[in-house]
């Protein structure tokens, strides 16, 4: 525990905890819209921003925010236009993003250790300025996702209905895209661009196995994200592993624990109640 007496460790921990809360609060909307991989794609695009920042000697995080936001808006425009050509367009954007990033980092003076820190997170790299950026943007993401929950829930759940309700669907979609880009980039220091998507999605997947409503899923996912980020940073510090990897592995471990526990619980309940009461109406519906 004495490791956390060092200011750089405290900064890394606080940064990770903010992201652990904010990432699932946004991720739940992405999961509901079947866009779970979008964070990963935007992470690829953000890497080009990191490369450009390193090459131009500007703040890589700042340049990455700009590049990722532009990329996220492009993805949203492609998504809103139609789906058939969108799939390929997304692939081009993702691979172009990571190739551009690796190329630009290669052209700069940065070492491969530098690149690794952006890809998978690093405990040593969070400066005070970084922490303030993470804190302010993280709080902004959290507040936006919670205040706009009814509207974002409505468009994630049924976009056509939201449109007929007169909601600004296009603006809200762009807001989600931009927020995703910002989340990916502020998480870069702690978790890394390649693993942040997991922190948006896995806590939601874990929570929804046991919850009954949207709001409770969001709350539980945020708690799980907070726990995974905190304990992941602790494991990374103790075992000297990249923090991104330990945070994500802990999140996936919680998923497995809950999945197994849920299966066992259902099996036990079935055995203790041998004569199940038939449901009043059959589940005849096919959900699309």
């Amino acid at each position: 525990m004495e490791l956390f007496q060092y200011p750089y460790m405290q900064r890394a921990l606080i940064g990770a905890l903010v992201i652990g809360l904010a990432a699932p609060a946004l991720g739940i909307y992405l999961v509901q819209r079947r866009l779970t991989l979008i964070g990963d794609g935007i992470g690829h695009v953000a890497l080009t921003g990191v490369g450009a920042g390193l090459l131009l000697n500007r703040s890589p995080v700042l340049v990455a925010v700009i590049v990722a936001t532009v990329g996220a808006i492009a993805i949203e425009v492609v998504r809103a236009r139609g789906r058939t050509s969108g799939d390929l367009a997304l692939a081009l954007l993702f691979y172009g993003g990571i190739a551009g990033g690796v190329l630009l980092v290669g052209l700069s003076d940065a070492t491969s250790a530098n690149l690794n820190a952006y890809l998978f997170g690093s405990l040593l790299s969070t400066s005070m300025a970084d922490l303030i950026t993470v804190g302010v943007l993280g709080a902004a993401i959290l507040i936006t996702m919670i205040v706009l929950r009814p509207a974002l829930f409505a468009i994630s759940h049924d976009e056509e209905y939201a449109r007929v309700s007169g909601l600004p669907v296009r603006t809200l979609n762009l807001l989600i895209a931009v927020t995703t880009a910002v989340t990916v980039t502020i998480a870069m220091r702690a978790v890394g661009v390649l693993l942040i998507s997991a922190l948006m999605v896995v806590p939601v997947a874990t929570a929804q196995q046991v919850t009954r409503g949207f709001r409770s899923t969001m709350t539980a996912a945020m708690a799980l994200g907070f726990f995974a980020a905190g304990s992941g940073v602790w494991v990374a510090a103790t075992a000297d592993t990249p923090p991104g990897a330990s945070v994500v592995l802990l999140a996936i471990a919680s998923f497995l624990v809950v999945a197994v526990a849920g299966a066992v619980w259902r099996a036990v309940r079935r055995r203790t109640a041998p004569a199940p009461v038939p449901a009043p109406e059959p589940h005849e519906v096919v959900l699309h």
């Binding site: 779970t36 049924d158 007169g166 929804q208 409503g213 949207f214």
Partner: protein, 253 residues
């Protein structure tokens, strides 16, 4: 007394150049309950999607509450009930959460829900007989109960006009009755209804006028026609696997 609520004049809609509606004119006035009938693929769902602005018109015009559709902004006056509830990515949502979405048109996106919103959601849940299921995930409900959830969502916004897309398709008898009751109450309070249906079932006594769409045009506008031929048999299951090629046998006299 007979203020027009919906006016469609010479409306035409095409998907990818293929015409679905050719030349449709329709007026619904306040207090009416109009059923749009027709075989699968006749364009009846497209007609209401065009009225809601979800599909663009290629010709003609639509007016809602005396406003051209393009300028219409008072969406809280309309309650829309789609054919079915999408499951999306599988994040659970309770019946109450889904129904509460119906308040957004009235409340706006920034204001948090207040006592009036909660009361309206409660009333809508009672109207469709789902008050005891409010805290259950919608995915555990039967198809008919999910359909009632969507109707409650539309009712919770206290609309003046309800637009429903096949509200009774594949719905069990108990839910059809609950739905017909909710619709009767809505009409008794002065509401206007436009619904698309393949069959009317228990809704039949509530309908004041029927519009039959056939091959992209209106071929009947007046009293509800009687079912004819094999459609009149009580055990007819209304399955039309060949969809668009179905002749208009049901409605052509």
């Amino acid at each position: 007394m007979s203020t027009p609520v919906i006016t469609v004049e010479h409306g035409a809609v095409g998907y990818d150049g293929r015409p679905v509606l050719r030349d449709v004119s329709l007026t619904v006035t306040a207090g009416e309950v109009v059923a749009v009938l027709g075989a699968n693929g006749s364009g009846k769902s497209t007609l209401i999607r065009a009225i809601l602005g979800l599909v663009p018109l290629s010709a003609g015009s639509i007016t809602l509450f005396d406003r051209p559709l393009r300028q219409f902004r008072q969406w809280q006056r309309i309650g829309y009930v789609p054919q079915r509830l999408g499951a999306g990515g599988g994040v659970p949502a309770t019946v109450r959460e889904v129904v509460a979405s119906g308040r957004l048109a009235r409340r706006g996106i920034l204001r948090p829900p207040g006592a009036a919103d909660r009361a309206a959601v409660d009333a809508a849940l009672r109207a469709v007989g789902l008050a005891d299921r409010a805290a259950d995930p919608v995915s555990t409900l039967s198809g008919g109960q999910q359909q009632r959830t969507l109707i409650a969502r539309a009712l919770s916004g206290r609309p003046e006009l309800l637009i429903l897309d096949e509200p009774t398709a594949g719905v069990d008898a108990a839910s059809q009755e609950a739905f017909a009751g909710a619709l009767r109450d809505f009409v008794a309070d002065g509401g206007t209804v436009l619904l698309v249906a393949h069959e009317l079932g228990p809704l039949r006594p509530v309908i004041s006028r029927a519009v039959v769409v056939h091959q992209g045009g209106v071929c009947h506008d007046g009293p509800v026609p009687d079912p004819a031929g094999h459609h009149a048999e009580p055990d007819h299951d209304h399955v039309h696997p060949h969809g668009p090629d179905e002749p208009a046998g049901l409605w052509s006299n």
